[in-house]
Amino acid sequence: MDAAEIHIIELCKKGDSSAQRAVYARYSPMMFSVALRYTNTRIDAEDVLQESWIKVFRHIKSFGEHNSFEGWLRRIVVNTAITHYRRNQKHQFQFDIDDVHATPRDIEAFKELDFTKDELAHAIEQLPKGYGMVFKMYVIDGFKHKEIAEELGIDLNTSKSQLSRARKYLQDVLHTMSKRAQKETDSGLQP
């Protein structure tokens, strides 16, 4: 963190309204994207964002200067999104393990990955909820297995196995997408 950022955070700790607005303007796009990733609808994402910012400003005094502020904000959004998801869906993440019929596919089969962010996001959305949560938390947002287990209320080994299955499932989806795209390209070239 640079000196300006530390200063503005200190002002936020004192309840300075203009500093709070400056922090909001700087970090809310990142936080909203995270909220969108963990929720089903845009309205849910807005609710999560609002709840997250209230938490941020109420607990900003507990933030230590030696940590990453962006990482702290990211974790708050993810935690809030998980709480929101649980509250609305009453969903148990463990149930997804048995429901999923993932096709095992070797990661080695992908010699090259050439997907856009939207294609990747679309593929991740197709993951079962439990897998998707663990995958997004571990791969995209940098959570540890221990933290994921605590947040989702699952066993540490369950988190690891869900991540492994999520990777295979995702690569299967991506492989299918790749094949479909190849077919479309071939059919487009034939005439």
Binding site: G15, S17, Q20, R21, Y24, S28, P29, M30, M31, F32, S33, V34, L36, R37, E46, L49, Q50, W53, I54, F57, R58, I107, E108, F110, K111, L113, F115, T116, K117, L120, A121, Y138, V139, I140, G142, R167, Q171
Partner: protein, 176 residues
């Protein structure tokens, strides 16, 4: 060959700079809620302060009242006895006066008071009699007029000499 770590890094890199501008009404809602929360906190603190001051001042005034309240002093048994004796005498005297007067022109109280004063005077006289010296001698009790002297410049000195002097009796014991 694509390993797990490489796959994770690839996906992470795709989402690293992800950003989406939230709608403006979210910002308004957030800061309205924060302002409302700040107001609630202020009101709570104010109420708490008023409560503490109220309790403190109430305790202070209650303490003050308890300090200033007169503490009844018990009369000694002797005093009570004396008062009771005097009252009993008064009642007796009043009763006797009422019997003697009969016609009701004087009240009992008016007759009791002089009697009581007479009693006090009598007691004081008795005390004086008992404390008075048994034997007293008068010496030099002649006035200047009786001596037939004329006024002169030495008059003040003579007047001083003619002042009556009282010699109090004393027991003198002479040691052998």
């Amino acid at each position: 060959m694509m390993k797990e770590d490489n796959f994770d890094q690839y996906v992470r890199a795709q989402f690293a700079s992800e950003a989406a501008a939230p709608p403006s009404h979210v910002e308004t809602a957030i800061f309205n809620e924060l302002a409302a929360g700040a107001r609630r906190t202020k009101l709570y603190r104010l109420g708490l302060g008023v409560l503490i001051v109220g309790i403190g001042s109430a305790g202070f005034f209650l303490n003050q009242e308890s300090v200033t309240t007169a503490i009844p002093v018990q009369q000694s048994p002797v005093q009570v006895e004396e008062v009771q004796q005097v009252k009993a005498q008064e009642v007796e005297v009043a009763a006797s006066d009422e019997q003697t007067i009969g016609d009701g022109t004087e009240t009992a109280v008016s007759t009791v008071q002089p009697r009581f004063e007479e009693e006090e005077a009598k007691i004081a006289n008795e005390l004086f009699e008992t404390e008075r010296p048994q034997r007293m001698e008068r010496a030099g009790a002649k006035s200047m007029n009786e001596l037939g002297t004329e006024p002169s410049s030495q008059a003040p000195a003579l007047q001083v000499e003619s002042v009556e002097t009282w010699v109090m009796p004393a027991n003198v014991t002479v040691k052998e």
